[in-house]
């Protein structure tokens, strides 16, 4: 074991402190417990999942380009949209949000040498990887992959309606990734509570770290419910229990209650980390501290708390839920989210905004998330939801939200990538990627809003040839192709910029502790640490004169210089 000394002591001895100890190559990947290596594994795996899930999406849009297309069979179409949703939610966005960048950045932001439980952290990754393989291997078994939608509603998901190994592999894969998420939640909570550097009080933690703390707590509350539900579903399928079947006295809608009790917090488990990424990007590229730092934190806590009381707004049309309660609670979430929106704008207000790729991605997030958020307010109202439920309006709303999250995530890769690898990505290709992604998203979602209002149902592989339906579907397909091009540009950028533009330790004039250490950071992260006196210690260190005024203590600073004479 390596005893980790405090950072100043490491600074004194760092010549003797070997950088590269332990195995190399594949054995390093298999045995490493370094949070940066694990985080990198998470990042690469989740981007691979993004590409797999994205190629399913392209197939879906290709199928919908004409009304009675026979590109894929209807059974294959069911598998495609099920696995598209499952891969994107369970295997890409979730692990990317709380596994990939969180793993790498959170310990460095708080000045910790590693995660609190490094071996548990490694186990999280292996469960995530094996869970992904389990779920995707459904395509290679008789009967194909799971085909009951990513929500697996009972009784469609029982053994009569969906026999075969694909559905069981879906359940098994989710069990593994679910435990992976829970362990990550435990790890993040313990790390943030117990491994902060001296002076890094709770209210000096960067917003990204704060958001990950709330995310981790939400994971601990939500994921056990999903795991329990999946075990019940498995028992229904194989052991003859009738928890979700009417025939044996069970209640099918109970599955929806359990699923969405996890499912709605899950939306914020995906979103809060991205909110954190965007907050960091906007503050750094506006060269200002975060506007309303504490307001931002309380908004995050409020969103987290409210997210546990809104699950049944996904079930308005079941007729079994208390409409006013869930409508009010859902509408209330708009308040803290609105606070965040204004704080982001306030951070940019009169700042020196630098339109780098990361900043453009963050701005794309703001716009697209606003569209998704406002249509979400429509859907929180039961009468409107009755009208649009199970139409493309819901699909469009949801994709506005998650595509916004994808933009934030891409921005974070451009922002933190140089810290992780030591090399910048090409900005020109990055900006081209942004425009394809941003415009593609709007071209992709807006026709779907209209189609939804016209009544086109979701989850259908063929649709009636009503006037205008094919045209709008074709526009949406063009948008999907643009998004596909943007992802291709990202991969091209990585290959083109491979070890070409050395980043230096602090390419963006960053605020938080990760920009104080080297790029990439050494084993156990720091040779030395600055004094931590605010939520942006690296900025304070690099701009000694600025800090007092920038943190709203200008008056105190003045008084110190010129004491008031009586």
């Amino acid at each position: 074991m390596t005893d980790v000394l405090d950072p100043p002591a490491v600074a004194e001895h760092h010549e003797e402190h070997h950088e590269d100890h332990g195995p190399t190559g594949i054995l390093k990947w298999l045995t490493s417990t370094d949070h940066k290596v694990i985080g990198m594994s998470y990042t690469v795996t989740s981007v691979v999942m993004l590409i797999i899930g994205g190629s399913f999406a392209e197939l879906i849009r290709a199928q919908l380009s004409t009304p009675n297309n026979s590109l894929v069979s209807l059974a294959q179409y069911n598998e495609l949209f099920t696995m598209h949703g499952s891969v994107m939610i369970y295997l890409f966005m979730g692990p990317f949000a709380f596994g990939a960048l969180a793993n790498i950045i959170v310990p460095i932001q708080i000045g910790a040498p590693d995660m609190a439980f490094p071996r548990l952290n490694a186990l999280s990754y292996w469960l995530y990887l094996t869970g992904s393989i389990t779920m995707l291997s459904g395509f290679f078994v008789a009967g194909g992959a799971a085909n009951f939608g990513w929500v697996a509603y009972a009784p469609l998901s029982n053994s009569v309606n969906t026999p075969g190994a694909g559905a069981d592999l879906w359940i098994g894969g989710l069990l593994l990734t679910g435990f992976s998420a829970i362990f990550t939640g435990v790890n993040l909570t313990a790390t943030i509570f117990y491994l902060r550097a001296p002076g890094m009080t709770m209210f000096r933690m960067p917003i990204f770290t704060w958001n990950l703390l709330i995310t981790a707590i939400l994971i601990l509350l939500a994921f056990p419910v999903l795991t329990a539900g999946l075990i019940m579903l498995y028992c229904d399928r194989h052991f003859g229990t009738h928890i979700f079947s009417v025939a044996g006295g069970g209640v099918p809608v109970l599955w929806q209650n359990i699923f969405w009790f996890w499912g709605h917090p899950e939306v914020y488990i995906l979103a809060l980390p991205v909110f954190g990424m965007v907050t960091e990007i906007i503050a750094v590229f506006s060269r200002k501290p975060v506007f309303g730092y504490k307001g931002m934190i309380f908004a995050t806590i409020t969103i987290g708390a409210l997210s546990l009381g809104v699950w049944a707004h996904h079930m308005f049309t079941t007729g079994t839920v208390l409409l006013p309660f869930f409508s009010i609670m859902s509408l209330l979430i708009a308040v803290p989210t609105g606070i965040k929106m204004f704080n982001w704008i306030g951070t940019m207000w009169r700042g020196e905004v630098w339109f780098s790729t990361a900043m453009l991605m963050a701005l794309g997030f703001l716009f697209t998330f606003l569209v998704g958020g406002i249509t979400g307010i429509y859907l929180a109202s039961p009468p409107l939801d009755f009208f649009t439920h199970d139409t493309y309006f819901v699909v469009a709303h949801f994709h506005s939200v998650v595509m916004a999250l994808l933009m934030g995530a891409m921005g974070a890769l451009y922002y933190w990538g140089p810290k992780i690898t030591g090399y910048l990505l090409n900005e020109k290709i990055g900006k081209a990627q942004f425009w394809f992604l941003f415009l593609g998203t709007q071209v992709f979602t807006f026709p779907m809003y209209i189609l939804g209002l016209w009544g086109m149902p979701r989850r259908v592989g063929i649709y009636p040839n009503h006037p205008g339906w094919q045209d709008l579907n074709d526009v949406a397909t063009v948008g999907a192709i643009m998004i596909g091009i943007s992802t291709a540009l990202f991969l091209i950028n990585i290959m083109y910029s491979w070890k070409k533009y050395p980043a230096g330790d602090n390419p963006w004039d960053g605020h938080t502790l990760e920009w104080f250490t080297t790029s990439p950071p050494p084993h156990h992260n720091f040779y030395r640490l600055p004094q931590i006196r605010s939520e942006r210690p690296t900025w304070d260190y690099n701009h000694p004169g600025h800090s007092a005024a920038a943190h709203g203590h200008a008056a105190e600073a003045l008084i110190e210089k010129e004491p008031v004479q009586p």
Partner: protein
């Protein structure tokens, strides 16, 4: 929230899940409360702390370890046993126990550098 929901809706599933969610909050919450009462004030919570005030051993971190991978593969086989047949439990549980024993022994020995 839970109380309002119960008296307004009289719906079982949601009320039970909210109640259990509350208990889930208490579990780590009370644990952290217990430790925060027993701990001395820490320099990371002191707004005027200097870096030197945190001097000392922060914690003990394992260098590298194969056991998380072994345990992960064991869990993989256990889950595959749910799908393809109970015989897969043999390698699955085998790997899990091997990893648990190996990991515990590694922790006691002091692990790899």
């Amino acid at each position: 929230m839970m109380v309002v929901y119960w008296f307004w809706s009289h719906e079982n599933a949601g009320s039970v899940m909210m109640f259990c969610g509350m208990l889930l909050c208490f579990l780590p919450g009370s644990y952290y409360y217990f430790w925060s009462r027993r701990m001395k004030p820490r320099s990371e919570d002191d707004p005027h702390a200097t870096q030197a005030s945190g001097a000392g051993v922060v914690g003990t971190f394992p260098g590298t370890s194969i056991w998380p991978f072994t345990l992960g593969m064991g869990a993989f086989f256990v889950v595959l046993a749910l799908v393809f047949g109970i015989w897969l439990l043999v390698p699955g549980l085998g790997l899990v126990f091997w990893a648990l024993i190996g990991g515990t022994a590694e922790g006691r020995r002091g692990g790899h550098h």
